[in-house]
Symmetry: C2
Subunit: 144 residues, 2 copies
């Protein structure tokens, strides 16, 4: 699907930014990793790419809605084909921002729900990427 790519020191192909965005758009859920109370939380979210940002709806009162403004979070999406033993992952690092009311009204039109189903209360969280990296595990990798 993609041209021959450079590989990192682990032998994984390094995806270009355009491919990262395309793959981000190809899956419905991702996972947010962040620290809360000194421990690492990893939670699934239903998300969309809005411009160059990752946006998702969190339920008010959930751990996700408590992501601290101005703190970095890690967002990961992936796909794996067990038969072909191929896969890819894209990781976004950025600042998480709970959105103000005016922006929520616009985001409500995007048509995604919070993980856990519909809610009348809304808390939209936006991740503004500081970095986006993608890696692909190609078919038939060479032995080391």
């Amino acid at each position: 699907m993609m041209r021959k790519l450079a590989t990192d020191h682990m032998g994984l192909e390094i995806l270009h930014l355009g491919d990262c965005f395309r793959l981000l758009d190809s899956v419905p859920i991702g996972r947010i990793g962040f620290t809360s109370g000194g421990e690492v939380l990893v939670l699934p979210v239903i998300f969309l790419v809005d411009g160059q940002d990752v946006v998702f709806r969190a339920k008010v009162g959930s751990k996700l809605a408590s992501v601290e403004v101005g703190h970095y979070v890690t967002f990961e999406v992936d796909s794996y084909d067990a038969t072909e033993e191929t896969g890819w992952s894209v990781v976004v690092r950025g600042l998480a921002e709970v959105q103000p009311e005016t922006e929520c009204a616009r985001l409500d039109t995007l048509g995604i729900e919070a993980w856990g189903g519909p809610t009348s209360e809304r808390a939209w969280v936006k991740i503004r990427p500081a970095s986006i990296t993608g890696r692909r595990m190609a078919a038939a990798p060479e032995e080391d």
Copy 2:
């Protein structure tokens, strides 16, 4: 597939431990969340459940292989059906331990590779769970 379950404050069904292990066994990959150099990393791994532990192969020299012994990590698996708008996630928290040579020899027989493909060098990491929690987003959730 499962009996009616209690729900948490977010309306998600709380899975029993037996269901968590069954679901862990149903998917080939999960994600490890851990801190490294002050930032949260979330990386995919091909894993197996070995007894009550989660085990995976990491490439020597990778960030995963550098998980510090005796530090807690978070391991997450999930599944989402975009059509039905149903899904589940299981989160394991535990101590990550790079395995000694004798244990590696046994784990080598389990037949899984590192994310990124085969490698002649091996580093097996085991997560001994301190907690396992699972949540299910049931079909047709009620409006809040």
